[in-house]
C-alpha cells in the first residue's frame, strides 16, 4: 500500500525522508459546490511542499482538510503509515500537525510568551494536583517547556516583545508569533496558510528566511500554501498546483513552471 521507505535528494543536496502523509482521492463539497475534487498527493518527511493556485482554487480548503477543520466526503488521509479516521482539529493538532492561519489566529489578550507556551500544551502531561502543588513532574515540565519556548523565541528573534500582549503588535510580528506558537508544538508537519500574505518585501524576505531556517534547523516537514508564485518557487522542494478544485500539476518548481496547464491557469484564465 503505502511505501514509506522511499526518500530522495534535493538539488541542493538535502536528504529527504519517506512519505509521512498522503492524501488519496480527496473530494470536499459544501452543499452543491465542490471545493476539492479527487485530489491526491503525498508529503515526504523533511521537505517543503507547496500548494499553489489562483484565488479560489481550493488551497485553503485542502489545508483545512489536512488540519481537520473540514472532513472530506470522499477520500482518505494517511498519516505516518496509518489511515486517519475523521478527526476534530484539536485531535489532529495533538497528532503533531501544527498550523498557522492566513488571517492570523492568536490569543490577542495574552502575551507573546503565553501564546507560544500554549503551543506546548501537547507536551504538558502533569495532572492538575501536581501542578497545584508545583512539585516534581509539574515543575520539571514547566521549566523544560519554558526553555524550549525560549529557544523558539530566540530563533525567531522576538525576545524584545516576549511580555507584550499580542494585540498591540504590528501585523508582521504577529505572523512571526503565530509561527513561533506552531513551532513550539514541535510538529511533525507544519502547515502554513499564506505565510507572506499582506507583507512588504522586506517582511517577506524575513519570513522566507525563517521558513528555510526552520526546515534546516529542526528538519520540520512544511506544507505551505501561497498564491505568490515567486516566493513559492524559491522556497519549496515540490509543488502541487490547484485550479478550480482540481490538481493540474505536481512536481519540482522547475517541472511545474514548464507545465502548460499551470501557465494557462496563471496567465490565461484569471478568475478572481
Amino acid at each position: 500500500m503505502l511505501d514509506a521507505t522511499e526518500g530522495y535528494t534535493t538539488e541542493d543536496g538535502r536528504k529527504i525522508g519517506g512519505v509521512v502523509m498522503e492524501m488519496k482521492n480527496i473530494t470536499l463539497r459544501f452543499g452543491g459546490v465542490t471545493a476539492i475534487e479527487d485530489i491526491s498527493f503525498d508529503v515526504h518527511e523533511g521537505e517543503i511542499r507547496a500548494i499553489i493556485g489562483p484565488n479560489g482554487a481550493g488551497k485553503s480548503s485542502m489545508l483545512n482538510v489536512i488540519s481537520g477543520f473540514y472532513n472530506p466526503q470522499e477520500g482518505e488521509v494517511w498519516y505516518k503509515g496509518a489511515k486517519r479516521p475523521p478527526m476534530k482539529p484539536y485531535q489532529v493538532a495533538r497528532q503533531g500537525i501544527a498550523r498557522t492561519f492566513q488571517n492570523i489566529a492568536l490569543f490577542e489578550g495574552m502575551t507573546v510568551l503565553d501564546n507560544v507556551m500554549t503551543g506546548r500544551i501537547r507536551q504538558m502531561k502533569a495532572g492538575l494536583l501536581s501542578q497545584a502543588l508545583w512539585k516534581g513532574k509539574a515543575e520539571r515540565e514547566e521549566v523544560e517547556n519554558r526553555a524550549f519556548v525560549e529557544k523558539i523565541i530566540d530563533f525567531l528573534e522576538i525576545q524584545h516583545i516576549r511580555k507584550t500582549p499580542v494585540g498591540r503588535l504590528p501585523y508582521g510580528l504577529k505572523k512571526r508569533v503565530e509561527l513561533a506558537r506552531a513551532l513550539a508544538a514541535e510538529p511533525s508537519i507544519l502547515l502554513l496558510d499564506e505565510p507572506m500574505a499582506g507583507m512588504n518585501v522586506e517582511e517577506k524576505e524575513d519570513m522566507s528566511r525563517f521558513v528555510l531556517d526552520v526546515n534546516d534547523e529542526f528538519g520540520t516537514t512544511i506544507v505551505l500554501i501561497e498564491h505568490d508564485m515567486g516566493v513559492v518557487m524559491d522556497l519549496s522542494d515540490r509543488v502541487v498546483v490547484m485550479d478550480y478544485g482540481k490538481k493540474i500539476g505536481d512536481g519540482t518548481p522547475d517541472e511545474v513552471r514548464g507545465n502548460q496547464a499551470v501557465i494557462d491557469a496563471y496567465l490565461g484564465v484569471a478568475h478572481d
Binding site: E150, I153, D154, F155, Q159, K163, E202, D213
Partner: protein, 658 residues
C-alpha cells in the same frame, strides 16, 4: 616622564589583570548575558577558562604574534573573551562596527591586514565573503551563531565553540607557547587598535598600549571610586573606545561584572533588570528616554499627570541641590522624599536607572533641560570629555561640581593647554601610541612632547575652572565680517528642542547664518497624531505649515538666547529650511556615530544652500537616497525657505572682530 615597560605592581596587561582577578575573586561574576530569557553568568575563573580555551584554539589555527584579529558583533561575552584571548596569544584585537557596510569593513580589515576575523553570525560572514577578494591577508573566519551556516564551505570557516574545543584538546601541545607569549606582554605592548570614524576622510587606526588603557582605567576608576561591586550594561558598540574602557579596562581593573543584553531591541528591559550602578549613555539615549516618558505622561490619567507635573516641578527646584549635597530646607527635603516615593523612584526604576551611582554622558552636547531632568531625579549624571586618542578621558566632572554647559576639570594625570587658536591640547599616560600606518597623521596630531591636538575649540570657564567646548576647531570659522562662526554651538542649541533631530548651520565666509533642519519624526509625529494631522511620510510631515511654524518659533528662541552671548550673537540664524529627507549614514551625510558631515551635505544640497542665500521663497529639488537593502532611489520635493526673526546686535565686538 620616564616610562618603564611594566607597571609598578606588575599588572601590565589585561591578561595579567585577568589572572589577578581569578586569584582574588575567582568565584565572583565577571560576565552575564541574557539568553533564552535567563541571565547566564560566568565567574572570573570560568571566564579565564573560556579565554584560555579560545587562546589555545587560536594558536591551533596558527595565529602569530603581532597578527591583527578583527572582531565584529554586538556586545556578547564571547567577543570580550575573544579580545582578551587575542591579547593572550600576542595578537592585536581590532573591534569593528558590526553595522558598517561591507565596503567600510573591507577598508578596515585590509588596512590592518587582519588574518583572522571573529564574527557573530551569517550576516557578518556573508558581508565579509562579499568583499573577500579585496582582503588578501584574511585567512580564517570564526563565527558564534551557526544558524544558516551549515552548508558553507568550512575550510576557512570555524565555529567559535569548535575552536575552543580544539584548543582544549590541544592544550598539551600549546600550553607552553601560550604561557610564554602571555609572559612577554608588557606596558608597551599594544592592547587594542580602534578605528575612529572621523568626520572626514578614511578611518584611522588608533594604537593603544596596555599602558594607555590600564593607566586611564586606573585613574578614572579612582576618580569615581569604582569598586568590584559595580554593575554595568555593555550595550554601546564594541568598536568604540568607551566600551573598551568601561567593559574591559575598568572592568578588569576593578573586577566588576559586565552584563550583556539579550538583543539590541531588549536593551531597555535588560537595563531595568540589571539596574546598573555605573552607566554611560550618549545624550541621544537620554533624550529618547525623556521623550518616551513625556509621551507616556501625555497619555496618562489626569491625576497621574498632575502628580508627575507637581513633583517634577519640585524636583527641578531642589533636586540638583540635594544631589550636590548643598543646603536645602527640611520642608523641601521632606517633600522631595515624598516625591521620591511617589514619582522619582518608580520613574527611575522604569528607566532602569534606580541604582546608578555614577552616570556619564559625552560625545555631544546635552540639552540643559534633559541633563537637569535626570539630575533632579537624583541620578548622579555627569559629563566627560574624551577621545579615542586619549583612551577616553580628558576632562571629567567631579561629584558636586556639575554644570550642563561645561565638561569638567582635567582628569587625573591629564595636563590641559589651550592654544592661541582656541584649540584644546592635552597630555597624559592615556595618550595613544600612533595611528597605524599613518605617520603623517600621527605627527600632525601628537607633537614630540606628547601633546595631542583635540581638534576642538574651547576655553576654561572663569567662574568654575571647568573646560567649556565650543565647537570643532576646524568648523570654527569666520564670517564675512571676520567674527567667529561656531556652527556646532548653534546646532546644539537647536537640537535641544525635541522636535529637531538634526541641524546644519552655514555661515562661514558669509554675512549671515542659515540652517538646514531635520525634524524628529517620533516627537513631531506624536504631536501630529495628537492634533489629528495626517501624514504619510517624513517628507509630508516635514513640509506641513504648522510644523514649519513650530520650527520657526524654536529657531527664533535660539536667536534670542544667542543674542545674549556677546561672543556668538552674530551667529543667529536668519533663514532656514526643513529638509525633505532625514540625514543618513547610509547616504554618507553623517558618520556612523551620527555626526553630520558638513562638507558632504553642502555639496550634495548645493541648490538648497544657494536658495538660502539668494532670497527665494521656495525651491524644487531632487535627491538620491539609498534604501536599507542597498537599492538606490530618488525623492523630490518643493521646500519652503523661511525667514526667522533675529535680534539686532548693536555693535560688533571688538575682540571677536580682531
Amino acid at each position: 616622564m620616564a616610562q618603564s615597560s611594566s607597571a609598578a605592581d606588575g599588572l601590565s596587561s589585561i591578561p595579567a589583570l585577568l589572572q589577578r582577578n581569578v586569584e582574588r575573586m575567582g568565584a565572583r561574576p565577571a560576565y552575564r548575558e541574557k539568553e533564552f530569557g535567563i541571565w547566564q553568568s560566568w565567574s572570573w575563573a570560568e571566564t579565564a577558562a573560556e579565554i584560555e580555551a579560545l587562546a589555545l584554539g587560536l594558536l591551533n589555527l596558527g595565529v602569530d604574534e603581532g597578527d591583527f584579529i578583527a572582531i565584529a558583533g554586538r556586545n556578547r561575552p564571547y567577543f570580550y573573551w575573544a579580545m582578551v584571548a587575542t591579547q593572550c596569544v600576542g595578537a592585536i584585537p581590532v573591534p569593528v562596527y558590526q553595522d558598517s557596510a561591507a565596503e567600510e569593513m573591507a577598508y578596515v580589515l585590509d588596512h590592518c591586514g587582519a588574518r583572522f576575523a571573529i564574527v557573530e553570525d551569517q550576516e557578518q560572514v556573508d558581508k565579509i565573503i562579499e568583499v573577500q577578494d579585496q582582503l588578501h591577508q584574511l585567512e580564517h573566519m570564526i563565527y558564534i551563531d551557526p544558524r544558516g551556516l551549515r552548508k558553507y564551505d568550512h575550510h576557512k570557516l570555524h565555529q567559535y565553540s569548535h575552536v575552543q574545543e580544539q584548543g582544549r584538546a590541544a592544550r598539551e601541545e600549546f600550553a607552553e607557547d601560550l604561557a610564554a607569549r602571555r609572559a612577554k606582554l608588557d606596558y608597551n605592548s599594544t592592547c587594542v587598535m580602534l578605528y575612529t570614524s572621523g568626520t572626514t576622510g578614511k578611518p584611522k587606526g588608533v594604537v593603544l598600549s596596555n599602558r594607555n588603557i590600564i593607566e586611564a582605567s586606573k585613574s578614572s576608576a579612582e576618580f569615581d571610586h569604582l569598586t568590584k561591586n559595580e554593575e554595568v550594561l555593555a550595550y554601546l558598540p564594541m568598536a568604540w573606545v568607551g566600551d573598551f574602557i568601561f567593559s574591559i579596562g575598568q572592568a578588569y581593573w576593578c573586577g566588576f561584572c559586565v552584563n550583556c543584553p539579550e538583543s539590541a531591541d531588549t536593551m531597555q528591559t535588560d537595563l531595568r533588570e540589571i539596574g546598573p550602578t555605573y552607566y554611560f549613555a550618549p545624550p541621544r539615549v537620554f533624550e529618547t528616554q525623556l521623550t518616551n516618558v513625556m509621551i507616556r505622561m501625555e497619555d496618562a490619567g489626569r491625576f497621574k499627570k498632575w502628580l508627575f507635573d507637581h513633583f517634577m516641578a519640585h524636583a527641578r527646584k531642589v533636586g540638583p541641590a540635594i544631589l550636590d549635597g548643598k543646603n536645602v530646607g527640611l520642608g523641601a527635603r521632606l517633600k522631595y522624599a515624598l516625591g521620591n516615593l511617589l514619582v522619582y523612584g518608580p520613574l527611575k526604576d522604569t528607566l532602569g536607572l534606580a541604582r546608578v551611582r555614577v552616570g556619564y554622558t559625552a560625545g555631544e552636547a546635552i540639552g540643559p533641560e534633559i541633563f537637569d531632568f535626570y539630575r533632579s531625579l537624583g541620578i548622579n549624571l555627569k559629563q566627560l570629555y574624551g577621545q579615542t586618542e586619549a583612551s577616553v578621558f580628558i576632562t571629567l566632572q567631579p561629584d558636586g561640581e556639575v554644570h550642563s554647559d561645561t565638561v569638567g576639570v582635567a582628569a587625573p594625570g591629564v595636563e590641559l593647554r589651550i592654544a592661541d587658536t582656541g584649540e584644546v591640547f592635552y597630555r597624559s599616560a592615556g595618550v595613544f601610541e600612533e595611528y597605524y600606518k599613518n605617520a603623517e597623521s600621527t605627527a600632525s596630531t601628537k607633537d614630540a612632547e606628547g601633546w595631542v591636538a583635540t581638534g576642538d575649540a574651547g576655553f576654561i570657564d572663569e567662574a568654575t575652572g571647568h573646560l567649556r567646548i565650543i565647537d570643532r576647531a576646524k568648523d570654527v570659522g569666520q564670517m564675512a565680517d571676520g567674527q567667529m562662526f561656531a556652527p556646532k554651538y548653534v546646532e546644539n542649541k537647536l537640537k535641544f528642542y525635541p522636535n529637531i533631530l538634526e541641524a546644519v548651520v552655514f555661515g562661514n565666509g558669509r554675512k549671515q547664518c542659515a540652517a538646514f533642519i531635520n525634524i524628529d519624526l517620533s516627537a513631531v509625529g506624536n504631536w501630529a497624531e495628537r492634533n489629528n494631522i495626517g501624514y504619510a511620510s517624513y517628507q509630508e510631515l516635514a513640509g506641513h505649515p504648522k510644523v514649519l511654524e513650530t520650527i520657526k518659533s524654536h529657531v527664533e528662541e535660539v536667536n534670542r538666547s544667542l543674542a545674549e552671548d556677546p561672543m556668538l550673537a552674530h551667529c543667529q540664524v536668519h533663514r532656514f529650511l526643513v529638509l525633505h529627507k532625514e540625514l543618513d549614514a547610509d547616504d554618507g551625510e553623517m558618520t556612523r556615530t551620527r555626526k553630520v558631515r558638513r562638507g558632504v551635505i553642502s555639496e550634495k544640497f548645493e541648490d538648497l544652500l544657494g536658495a538660502l542665500y539668494d532670497g527665494s521663497d521656495e525651491i524644487y529639488t531632487t535627491t538620491e537616497v539609498t534604501y536599507e537593502d542597498g537599492r538606490k532611489g530618488s525623492i523630490s520635493a518643493t521646500l519652503k525657505i523661511i525667514d526667522a526673526e533675529v535680534v539686532p546686535v548693536d555693535a560688533p565686538q571688538q575682540e571677536a572682530a580682531e
